[in-house]
């Protein structure tokens, strides 16, 4: 049995497949690049760790708890630790809701910022649209030479600038 091979039709079919391949590759590359470019850099993890570190420097000196911390007001915490927890890139009330810090020891608590953020930190798995938190527990010596367990918490929201594109 003889077949007459239609060479021209073959070539046309092949070029059709090539065009489809080009389109698929273009769509894949362009969408991958656009997704990568449009998603903002998320620096909240580093920011929250730096915030906790600044709390550590603020409450201790050479492993000893600074005594002038006792009876400090929450407003005083920001001033004492050289912190400004107001994000002026946000407007109105939102500017005061982007950070939260807390220092807990000997049943005392000093905190500042948006306290609602801490509840969101306790989620099982952190998602992109909720704040990023850092937690540190350290042992410090008090004035009587006794060890004090200090729990430090920092939370950074700034979702619009770091997670939502």
């Amino acid at each position: 049995m003889k077949y007459r091979i239609n060479k021209k039709a073959d070539e046309r079919l092949l070029s059709f497949y090539w065009i489809i391949m080009f389109v698929i590759v273009t769509v894949a590359v362009v969408s991958a690049v656009l997704i990568f470019v449009s998603s903002p850099f998320d620096i909240r993890e580093t920011e929250s760790k730096l915030l906790v570190d600044s709390l550590v420097k603020c409450i201790s000196e050479n492993g000893v708890l600074k005594e002038n911390f006792v009876n400090l007001s929450n407003e005083g915490l920001e001033r004492k630790c050289n912190l400004n927890l107001k994000d002026n890139t946000y407007y109105g009330e939102e500017s005061n809701k982007q950070y939260f810090v807390a220092i807990r020891f000997k049943e005392k608590e000093y905190s500042s910022g948006n306290s609602n953020l801490e509840a969101l930190c306790e989620g099982a798995e952190q998602k992109e649209n909720i704040p990023v938190c850092a937690n540190k527990k350290i042992m410090l010596l008090d004035s009587r030479g006794e060890f004090v367990l200090v729990n430090l918490v920092a939370a950074v929201r700034k979702t619009e600038k770091n997670a939502i594109s």
Partner: protein, 134 residues
């Protein structure tokens, strides 16, 4: 063993192959151009720079000088834009990077020290000072 070449045989000029090759090469070139254009996007560079500087400021202790290479950022500046590219606003605790008239990105920092920034060639020199009752 001798191989005989028939030099008189006419070669077939496959014009469709050449067109296909040119199309394929131009397709790859356009894709590469698109990727490089996107990666050197002004908005992207401004965001990256502002966040890097904000993190550096957050980590800076008082009375410290910090030098940062910003040559890559300055290279992307619009030649017609004459204003300050990197500005640290101590009043608002915000870093602003602006490479052209139409663009710009701001990011806040929480360190409440007083910072002064100066461009020295391709380097940004940031000095942290004691708080000056802002």
């Amino acid at each position: 063993m001798k191989i005989k070449f028939d030099l008189n045989k006419k070669g077939t000029f496959i014009i469709s192959d050449i067109i296909f090759l040119v199309l394929a090469l131009s397709f790859v070139a356009i894709l590469l151009l698109f990727i490089s254009k996107q990666s050197s996007n002004t908005i992207l560079i401004e965001e990256q720079a502002a966040k890097q500087i904000a993190l550096a400021l957050d980590a800076l202790p008082s009375k410290t000088q910090f030098t940062m290479y910003v040559g890559e950022i300055l290279k992307e500046k619009d030649p017609n834009f004459s204003s300050e590219v990197i500005k640290i606003d101590n009043e608002r605790n915000v870093v602003r990077v602006k490479l052209s008239e139409k663009s710009g990105y701001e990011y806040s920092f929480f360190n409440d020290l007083f910072f002064s920034a100066e461009l020295k060639g391709d380097y940004l020199v940031i000095t942290s000072n004691e708080i000056q009752n802002k």
